[in-house]
Symmetry: C2
Subunit: 323 residues, 2 copies
């Protein structure tokens, strides 16, 4: 992984992936007692940063591989990002999803142009089905984070951040990043090392799913005890990626951990003060920036996604708007 | 009013007023059967385009007038826009608000740094109180739309739109703009005439408060029969401005009218597909772009504000998310 790979991904994305805004709000800053800047990747096309990694990976394929197509395993933001990128490249795209995934996610993935193949979580082996489909059709598997071109694509967030922070007069600040497998965090860390070394990544994870924070602290790859049980579904991964952990071990500061309630509270404050829609997993970095202790006067958070069901959003407003 | 005044306002704003993003969403386009682009002024600092007009007016004052201060009558977005601009210019600022205005609006206006003076709607004459305050302290009144520098400030939305439309390959499209007194609509119309004449403003108003549409159709300045009775509170004005109507008569196409339910529906679709928060009055242009008939393949809407109370937003989601 080199900064040049990130820069090359940015060139391939131009005109297709949105440069997302860098937001702040005077009244939010007053309320929390520090300056909080938000990189609003919820406003990315497909509603999350995953469109960047998908675009980077699909566009990096040679024309023959692209013509055969791609496959991904996901019921969420990675599925939509890969499906969008493949459709715009006229590349066939199969997304393997559990048959009990929410209907709206299946419908959305199809609407982006992908062929959705369903499997039964209880009786079927996802990896075996995927491997057979990939073999039969010559599809290239696009992993959600342990893929250099995916990391390079997510890292373009860091290139933009470096420029936007300078424009805002910020040279030193922690950059909280919502973290599942670490693809976005590691990509941003590499970009900032090259372009804005005073900005330093801190991963943000939900309580009970802090495998990255514990891995960074211990120097050993740690697993989460559970795979479900947080509303932050977008970022519940079993353990850090093999490619991402070494990058973050070298470049990231200690990981932050927030509660589900703090994520909901951050969603409500983002609604009131920034007028953006965040999903719980997309709000954990903002929660860390808002509610963390011993933070400097200026902090940055990457708000990674906004694909949230209305009921969850209404719960966040009901419980925390006005708090 | 000249295009040069708008360009000068843009220069004065640089670094203080946000260049808001130009958003679209593949799944929204599929759902409505046309390409819908949204200029997201809800992401402007203070949550609406009104910060532009406030900044333009305050920054255009000579230093002596600015040191004496400014005054505005508003309980909403104009109050916050003027208060923000005045505070950043170290100019004293009085906002005259009815004493029954929502506490949160009073608190927010104070938090932006303004002195809020309350009056009793039933027994006191707002204009008389404002005139006395202005006389006593030498304050300059900043009107919400019938002020050339306010129109010039709002017109900077049009300068950005012209550039962003070209980047998106759009040369011909209607541009729906949420319309109260017409300051934003007329400013945008002037900017587009100079920079992108294929983009043509169409005002959008709530049903029952379509004074601008009727004025444009009749060639005579029309009044609304009522002053309250729509949830689109931000844009309920009694009649078009004296400065704005002639500009729009010359440059705008027929005005669009939407129902309150269509505004709520547009809010829900903006939540789902664009991940932005709109207030009802800030969603009428998007509603016109989504639900209007006989529209071309590509339409643009200016989403003007996102200062909405959680209960109203939850109602929009409850009734229309998933529709």
């Amino acid at each position: 992984m080199t900064p040049e790979m990130i820069e090359a991904a940015a060139v391939r994305m131009a005109g297709h992936i949105r440069r997302t805004p860098f937001l702040n709000a005077p009244l939010l800053d007053q309320a929390v007692g520090r300056r909080v800047f938000v990189k609003a990747e919820c406003l990315q096309v497909t509603g999350s940063f995953k469109a960047r990694g998908g675009w980077s990976a699909v566009s990096a394929l040679d024309p023959e591989a692209r013509a055969r197509g791609v496959i991904a395993y996901s019921s969420g933001n990675h599925a939509q990002g890969v499906a969008y990128a493949a459709a715009r490249h006229d590349a066939p795209c199969v997304i393997l999803m559990p048959s009990d995934a929410p209907q709206v996610k299946i419908a959305n993935t199809r609407a982006y142009g992908a062929e959705v193949v369903l499997y039964d979580r209880a009786t079927q082996d996802r990896d075996a089905i995927g491997a057979r489909l990939a073999d039969d059709r010559g599809l290239r598997l696009i992993k959600p984070y342990d893929d250099p071109q995916v990391i390079a694509g997510q890292g373009t967030v860091g290139l933009e951040l470096a420029e936007q922070a300078v424009e805002a007069g910020i040279t030193q600040a922690p950059v909280f990043v919502c973290c599942g497998g670490g693809g976005l965090s590691s990509g941003i860390a590499l970009a900032l090392e090259a372009r804005a070394p005073g900005l330093q990544v801190r991963t943000a994870e939900p309580h009970g799913f802090d495998d990255m924070a514990r891995s960074l602290a211990s120097g050993q790859r740690q697993k989460n005890p559970a795979t479900t049980g947080s509303i932050c579904d977008a970022i519940l991964t079993p353990s850090p990626g093999e490619l991402t952990l070494p990058i973050l071990t070298r470049l990231a500061r200690p990981g932050a951990v927030v509660t589900d309630d703090q994520a909901l509270h951050a969603m409500a404050l983002a609604f009131t003060h920034l007028r953006i829609v965040l999903e719980p997993g997309g709000a954990v970095a903002l929660a860390a920036a808002l509610f963390g202790e011993d933070l400097p006067d200026t902090v940055i958070a990457v708000a990674t996604g906004g694909n949230v069901d209305p009921a969850t959003f209404a719960t966040a407003l009901d419980r925390f708007a006005g708090c």
